[in-house]
């Protein structure tokens, strides 16, 4: 790929993407379209989770099929605390992140002893474990979930309650998370992750056991997805086991692959594309998946590297 194409893909595309996302509330206000703002808030929340998944899947080839569990853990942390009348974000958000990190540490320590299909299956199993645990929480709505009678509070600000403010909060989190993870991807730590994906034997031979690095990355990704979950609880003012279902984990994987693996902002692009397509197509027919499935296959086949691959003109990366 030529230097200009690389510059275009690595600089221009992400800047443009985030610029457009920043302008969504302006457009929504101008068009007086409240739904659009809420819809994009939801997209960006999922994008945060997708970016965190890309961090382990794209960089480290850890195909976690249970990533939605962290969305649920983060959401339930906010929901359960709210149920006990604790609305302060500075309490519930750190709790959401810590609980998710702890779950990632324990399940990751076990899962990462396996590879490939086994890793996929074991993360799926842990995800389903979290899902069924949530359905059995009868005190918190069980299967039906838990309705929140309000949103988190951050001192006296309207950052959670006002739709536009909240959008920019989510946008800010997404931006910071993406930049942070990109920074980590370029560090020594990131280099080990990317190297371990290519040849595990070589890493051992130079004296690096990738296990600890993978586990650290897995925990980081879990914590960020937990943060996304806490935001999601606020976005929908509702928490339910469905957040953790394997469908949701699958959706996150599709977003990451659709956008283009390993670039991180590709996952943002994937989340926007996935959710928009779902919204538009499901407006035409309830069998929208019949159209969406083949579309996805086409992008993966011809856009090697997902949508980002298409953007740069189909060249080989």
């Amino acid at each position: 790929m030529s230097g200009t194409a690389l510059l275009f893909r690595n600089r221009v595309v992400p800047v443009l993407l985030f610029l457009l996302l920043a302008l969504v509330p302006v457009y929504a206000t101008y068009m007086d379209d409240r739904f659009l703002l809420l819809f994009f808030t939801r997209i960006l929340v999922l994008a945060i989770a997708a970016v965190s998944l890309d961090f382990i899947l794209g960089l480290g080839a850890m195909v976690s099929f249970g990533h939605a569990a962290y969305l649920g853990l983060g959401a339930y942390a906010v929901g359960i605390l709210a149920d006990s009348d604790i609305w302060d974000a500075w309490i519930s958000f750190p709790v959401a992140i810590l609980v998710s990190g702890l779950f990632a540490l324990v399940t990751g320590a076990i899962s990462l002893r396996t590879r490939g299909v086994y890793f996929i299956m074991i993360t799926l199993a842990f995800g389903q474990m979290a899902y069924f645990t949530a359905t059995s929480l009868s005190a918190y709505g069980g299967d039906d979930g838990l309705t929140l009678w309000g949103r988190s509070e951050f001192f006296d600000t309207e950052i959670f309650s006002d739709a536009t403010w909240f959008y920019y909060l989510v946008f800010g989190v997404l931006l910071v998370v993406t930049l942070l993870l990109r920074r980590i991807a370029g560090s020594r730590f990131g280099r080990v992750l990317k190297g371990a994906k290519q040849s595990e034997a070589r890493l051992h031979a130079i004296g690096i056991d990738p296990y600890r690095y993978r586990l650290a990355a897995y925990v980081i990704a879990g914590m960020i997805a937990g943060l996304a979950g806490a935001l999601m609880a606020n976005q929908s003012e509702f928490v339910s086991p469905a957040y953790m279902s394997w469908h949701r984990s699958g959706e996150l994987i599709v977003m990451v692959i659709l956008g283009g693996l390993g670039s991180l902002y590709g996952a943002v692009l994937g989340a926007v594309a996935y959710m928009s397509l779902e919204e538009v197509l499901s407006g035409y027919t309830e069998h929208w998946r019949l159209i969406f499935g083949p579309l996805l296959i086409l992008v993966v086949l011809y856009g090697k590297g997902g949508l980002l691959g298409l953007i740069k003109g189909g060249g080989k990366s």
Partner: protein
């Protein structure tokens, strides 16, 4: 005489009924290239595994320096200064040549839990990596994606990665396998220039290369060493001739 760099004492390994390593003892001394040759199926790859740490010995000891490393895993042995090349080249194909070697330097500098400082502009890594690439004559390929190198260049790159760890011993598993005559010549030169500073254990099929490089040769047959000596001694050893002639007759 100074203490051996690597010392194998009575190593044994069986797979089911098959004894792959039989009571094997061997030493690599400072400043020497010690070659291990032997017919196919003699147990050379298993032996390499036992030294590197990915094959666990049933009994016997591996001493590296003065340290008993028999129970240590691969990565720990590597940290102690055991560098290696693989029979099937193990490089990081998506990384550039420079990144491959820089990762080796990085591994040698301690843990890699550094999350924020960009690695690709890290002078502490790149300067040393470039010096090594210059030494092995791969400097002109610095920016190339490692997967796009020729087979011989990949072999040299693998050596460069190992050198980045400032190894006290190089374990080379058939470094000349599949390389062309030009590339072999280059590899022999590079290894020759290194051997005064880094002792090596060389497993190799290319007999010309072995006899050019080795200070001592051990001949491995059916998991046991039948002779150890200088290239001349080995050339004139009856048992060795028999082992190789035997192979020729069945071939």
């Amino acid at each position: 005489m100074s203490a051996p760099v690597l010392q194998l004492k009575n190593l044994n390994k069986t797979y089911g009924a098959l004894r792959v390593t039989k009571d094997l003892s061997l030493e690599v001394r400072p400043g020497e290239i010690h070659a291990v040759i032997g017919p196919n199926g003699a147990g050379k790859t298993t032996l390499i595994g036992q030294i590197a740490g990915n094959v666990r010995s049933d009994s016997g000891k591996v001493f590296f320096g003065n340290r008993d490393v028999t129970a240590l895993p691969v990565a720990r042995r590597a940290q102690l200064g055991l560098g290696r090349s693989f029979q099937i080249t193990a490089i990081l194909p998506e990384f550039s040549v420079l990144e491959n070697v820089a990762l080796g330097v990085q591994a040698h500098q301690g843990h890699s839990f550094h999350f924020f400082k960009p690695a690709d502009t890290d002078k502490g890594l790149n300067r040393k990596a470039l010096a090594i690439l210059d030494k092995v004559k791969l400097f002109h390929r610095v920016e190339t994606r490692a997967g796009d190198l020729s087979h011989g260049e990949k072999r040299v790159l693998e050596l460069a990665i190992a050198l980045a760890g400032e190894p006290k011993l190089l374990l080379l598993d058939e470094p000349m396998a599949g390389t062309g005559p030009e590339e072999t010549k280059n590899l022999v030169e590079v290894l020759q220039s290194l051997k005064t500073t880094i002792p090596m254990l060389l497993v190799e099929h290319d007999m010309d290369a072995v006899f050019q490089l080795a200070d001592r040769i051990s001949v491995l047959v059916y998991g046991g060493i039948i002779a150890t000596g200088t290239p001349d001694e080995i050339r004139n050893d009856d048992k060795v001739r028999e082992a190789y002639l035997g192979e020729d007759e069945t071939a």
